[in-house]
């Protein structure tokens, strides 16, 4: 099971966190501090796994962003590495050559995508197409809802006049 997902920039700034196991706010900051210290200092040719408090942290670097996932000891690390990659591919497809800024300004969308991919610490959808379709459906629905609400407010506004 995945305990949490963490996106940190090379400067140690947090870009996205998702906790699947209960951690208090204090623990979260501590975890982030410990892990960023641990991961950011690792050399480029070392392996992508870190042992940490009896758990494993699998991380992968994309440009200036580190994607980290914390898993149980008996999970398949390579698989997690591929889940990270899978997520990045979906993000890439959604944003169109994703970059760190996309995630900063649209981090809630990154969350929505992550929610379609992982639920309760397990991979729920291995198909890229399904995920993108679902997210697109939600977005289009949001768009129509937006139009509706704006039109309604327009009507009300006009009526109020």
């Amino acid at each position: 099971m995945i305990h949490f997902v963490l996106l940190i920039s090379r400067q140690g700034k947090v870009r996205l966190t998702k906790w699947y196991s209960p951690y208090s706010q204090k623990e979260r900051t501590k975890v982030i501090r410990e892990l960023s210290g641990l991961i950011l200092t690792r050399g480029p040719k070392l392996c992508n796994f870190v042992e940490w408090r009896g758990l494993r942290v699998v991380y992968k670097r994309y440009a200036s962003l580190y994607f980290c996932m914390c898993i149980d000891e008996d999970d398949n690390e390579l698989e997690i590495l591929e889940i990270i990659h899978h997520y990045v591919e979906v993000l890439d497809r959604y944003f169109g050559s994703v970059c760190e800024l996309d995630l900063i300004y649209n981090f809630h969308k990154a969350y929505f995508i992550l929610d379609e991919l992982l639920i309760a610490g397990e991979l729920q959808e291995p198909s890229k197409r399904t995920v993108t379709r679902l997210v697109a459906a939600q977005d289009s629905l949001v768009e129509t809802a937006k139009e509706q609400t704006s039109s309604i407010t327009n009507i009300i506004a006009q009526a109020a006049k």
Partner: protein, 902 residues
């Protein structure tokens, strides 16, 4: 609003407190607009955890949204369900989620499955009736739903393999279809057909096939296929390969599959990628259990990984080494581990590696010397992280001499241990646990071989106690060690002259705030004042591992009970029944009073004593009526509280002894001791943290130190055998001569033969750890022989108060004793005085004692045997108290008293 909430999420993510805005996020999910609602759900899932107070406000909305026509709303609600619903609120949403399992949209079905999976993780009982739904969903048309179903099934199978054996065929056929690319193209990932589903299926098969030949046979072909088809150039291909290896190592072994697994491993290990090396080491560790010989060809790769700068890889390799350790290579491996342990400062991992070192050293130690040295190193570097049990184990091993019958080897071992410890003591800062071991060993064996003088050792011990003056435990160990050394000196007939620093130390401890230290110091004083014979029997040299027989059933009492019953005594009624029988209001009040006093332990230390005291008068009464026992026996028996198998004791005294124990048992039950059937001294000790010392306890704790080491004694024959097999067996090194040169060549039967042993050891260690309280105080008998009975005499005299003192002095003609240890006596009088209240309380409360009879009885006895002072005082006080309480003494002899009196 939506923007604000999103910003709030960002603020929270950066680690600031955004709790002021939580309520707005909760409000947002009530919104009709999907956009706002979705953001609200996202914010709520990120802000709140399942125990948050606001959850109660959300459940209602979730229920409404789960019924929504719009599947996207349902999806958003299901996402929140997975994160936020806790054990109590599961029933509120469960029926709706079960309905959603049949939803036309596959995304909803999938999320409903995942939600149920989450519920199963949180409380398995809540969804236990829904297991059949998971099976049904396995045949879902949508591969995504099927893949999601594998997650809960994996958990279910992990918990209970046998009820899912029938699914093996379906899993195998699904896996086959997946491998043959029957799934839609959308599930391909880097040209691999649905690798995530494959991995999940392989995990499940590994569980189902473990040690089940029939089920495993179904899997061989498909796993073999996957091995062949896997593309080892891509990362995901390797992930599937790795999972295959795990599966092969878990299911019933198949030669062909093992071969391909070994091939894959060698490819992993030879690869340049650290990730693959890591996985290779891990896979090797798994496969090595089944076919140990494959490690041999990878020796060099393993050694390379061990030298690698990558910390993760190094640790993984240590894990592998740990798995391959056997008696021939243990020295190398443990040395390496200790080196590595010294080089890191991550406490979590340090603890782990230290405990592994200890475990390996205990299992495979080639020689005792090496073992002690290794333990020293471990203690020195990671002492505070090691379990205290390990230290006790080490003490026991030194004391028992590793189960070998060779006495000279044992004493050699001990003297080498002493020497090394004396050397180590020179180092500036040592961990507390290690110091305890050092103190104990020095105390027990410091002067044993005559190489070091007592004054040298005691000087060292004093240094320790001074240097670590803020560690009470170490000081206590040091004091007891001092006591032992002096005791040995006295017993050997040498004259003891305390070092000046030792004197000052003792003075400091006598005034210590720690009662434990204080008590030990007093004991030391008392021991030094005794003559050689007495001392020898209190602290016999090198007796820390003698067997102590404990008859817990108190079967030796049967005769006496029988006799009493024949004489008209009522049989013993257990506490539970007895309280039911008491219906007189007065009694009840007493009962309540008692109960409350148990609840609030303001007088915690009086409680145990009340039984000590309570026992005395009836017991001595009984004995005067039944058998004329030489009066010298009473005090000892009554104060020592445990049976003393005295060599010279006559029939009468043994009888008395037994009686006492019987009483103890009966009374012990009534008073709800924290430790129910153990005798008083134990409870005293546990409660006693702040109390003064009472007779039995002093006697007891005088030798407490030795008990500590002795706690494992009850199972010692078994243990010895174990130690012999652990340390004697492997160290015979027949293996060494056979395969000696290959350090990393594991021999399967060695590994196997050690596995059960280690578990046995763990088990026996467990029992031994639980034993101490009982043994501690039952242990007394062997240590105490007749001689110490002198002490209780003196104690008694202390109790007698001026009026009776004269007569007692006459009786025993040992007046010197009175002045000898006035402190202790003072304590006794104090405690007994305190205990009298409780004592009479209990008597009147529980049994409505015939006061007139009592007093009459005791007074007559008093006349007859003036030395038993306490009885008179006792009964008088009791009388007064009973009157105070308002119980009118009835002439009827109540049950309890009768059966004690006989």
């Amino acid at each position: 609003m939506k923007e604000y909430i999103i910003r709030l999420v960002y603020v929270e993510m950066l680690g600031h407190d955004a709790s002021f805005g939580y309520i707005h996020a909760v409000k947002m999910i009530h919104d009709d607009s999907l956009l706002v609602k979705r953001t609200g759900y996202l914010a709520v899932t990120l802000f709140l955890n399942e125990d948050h107070d606001l959850i109660i406000l959300i459940v209602n909305t979730i229920q409404k949204d789960l019924k929504s026509d719009n599947y996207l709303v349902v999806c958003a609600a299901l996402n929140a369900v997975c994160k936020l619903i806790n054990e109590e609120t599961i029933p509120a949403v469960l029926p709706q989620i079960v309905e959603l399992l049949a939803h036309p949209k596959e995304a909803v079905r999938k999320k409903a499955i995942m939600a149920l999976h989450r519920f199963y993780q949180k409380s398995s009982s809540s969804v236990s009736h829904l297991v059949s739904n998971f099976r049904k969903r396995l045949c879902d048309n949508d591969p995504g739903v099927m893949g999601a179903t594998l997650c809960p099934l994996f958990d279910l199978i992990t918990n209970d393999v046998n009820s899912y054996k029938d699914l093996v065929i379906s899993f195998v056929s699904i896996l086959k279809q997946v491998a043959e690319r029957r799934l839609p193209k959308a599930y391909d990932y880097h040209q691999m057909p649905a690798p995530f589903i494959q991995i999940k299926l392989l995990k499940i098969l590994a569980l189902l096939g473990s040690s089940d030949k029939q089920a495993s046979e179904n899997m061989y072909t498909v796993v073999g296929d996957i091995f062949r088809k896997c593309d080892s150039s891509s990362n995901i291909g390797n992930a599937v390969l790795y999972e295959c290896i795990c599966c092969v190592s878990s299911i019933y072994p198949n030669h062909k599959l093992l071969e391909s697994a070994a091939d894959a491993i060698s490819r992993f290990l030879k690869s340049d990628s650290h990730n693959l090396k890591y996985m290779g080491i891990d896979a090797l560790g798994r496969l090595i259990k089944i076919s140990p010989e494959i490690a041999e060809q990878h020796q060099l790769a393993v050694i390379d990984c061990l030298e690698d700068p990558d910390d993760t890889l190094k640790r993984k390799t240590f894990e592998l080494l740990y798995k391959m350790t056997k008696s021939t290579n243990v020295e190398v491996i443990v040395d390496r581990m200790i080196d590595y342990m010294n080089s890191i400062n991550d406490n979590h991992y340090k603890t782990e590696i230290a405990s592994r070192c200890v475990e390996l050293a205990e299992q495979f130690a080639p020689s005792n010397q090496w073992f002690i040295q290794t333990m020293n190193k471990v203690f020195e570097h990671a002492g505070d992280l090691v379990n205290i049990k390990v230290a006790h184990n080490l003490m026991r091993l030194i004391a028992e001499g590793f189960g070998e019958d060779d006495d000279t080897a044992d004493s050699q071992l001990r003297s080498s241990a002493v020497e090394s410890y004396l050397h180590i003591l020179g180092e500036p800062k040592l961990p507390s646990v290690f110091l305890q071991v050092i103190c104990w060993v020095l105390g027990e064996y410091g002067t044993a071989d005559g190489k070091y003088s007592a004054s040298y050792i005691t000087g060292k011990l004093c240094d320790v106690a001074e240097a670590y003056s803020n560690d009470e435990t170490v000081k206590a160990y040091a004091v007891t060690a001092l006591m032992k050394i002096y005791a040995f000196e006295i017993a050997a007939g040498r004259k003891v002259d305390m070092l000046p620093e030792c004197h000052s130390l003792m003075e400091e401890f006598l005034a210590s705030h720690s009662t434990d230290l204080q008590q030990r110091a007093y004991e030391l004083q008392a021991v030094i004042g005794l003559d050689a014979h007495a001392v020898e029997s209190i602290l016999p040299s090198d007796a820390s591992c003698e067997d102590i027989e404990v008859d817990k059933a108190l079967s030796f009492l049967n005769d006496y009970i029988q006799e009493s019953i024949e004489k008209g005594a009522q049989p013993y009624i257990p506490e539970s029944e007895r309280t039911g029988m008491l219906n007189i209001s007065n009694f009840r009040n007493q009962d309540h009073h008692e109960a409350s006093s148990h609840g609030l332990r303001f007088e915690a230390y009086e409680l145990p004593k009340q039984t000590v005291q309570a026992r005395i008068p009836p017991a001595s009464l009984a004995s005067t009526e039944l058998v004329p026992v030489p009066e010298a026996m009473y005090p000892r028996e009554s104060y020592q509280t445990t049976t003393v198998p005295s060599v010279s004791s006559d029939a009468a005294s043994t009888e008395l002894k037994l009686r006492l124990d019987g009483v103890q048992k009966r009374w012990g039950r009534q008073t709800h001791f924290p430790s129910t059937s153990t005798s008083n001294s134990t409870s005293l000790k546990t409660v006693n943290g702040i109390t003064q010392v009472d007779g039995s306890n002093t006697a007891n704790s005088r030798t407490r130190e030795t008990y500590d080491s002795r706690k494992q004694v009850e199972i010692s024959p078994e243990k010895q055998k174990l130690a012999a097999s652990l340390f004697g067996g492997p160290s015979k090194t027949e293996k060494k001569s056979a395969t000696g040169h290959k350090s990393s060549k594991p021999s399967s039967h060695m590994v196997k033969s050690h596995a059960p042993k280690s578990s046995m050891e763990v088990a026996s260690e467990k029992t031994s750890v639980q034993q101490p309280p009982d043994l501690l105080d039952f242990g007394e008998p062997t240590v105490k022989s007749t001689a110490p009975s002198l002490d209780p005499f003196k104690d008694l005299e202390g109790l007698l108060e001026p009026t009776t003192q004269v007569s007692s002095a006459v009786n025993h003609s040992s007046t010197a004793a009175v002045t000898k240890s006035p402190d202790i006596m003072g304590l006794y009088t104090e405690t007994t005085a305190g205990a009298h209240h409780k004592d009479s309380d209990i008597l009147s409360g529980l049994s409505k004692p015939p006061m007139t009879n009592m007093v009459g009885g005791t007074t007559t006895m008093q006349v007859a045997q003036s030395s038993k002072g306490p009885n008179l005082k006792d009964s008088l006080e009791k009388d007064a108290l009973v009157r105070q309480i308002g119980v009118t003494p009835s002439s009827q002899n109540p049950n309890l008293f009768k059966d004690i009196l006989g």
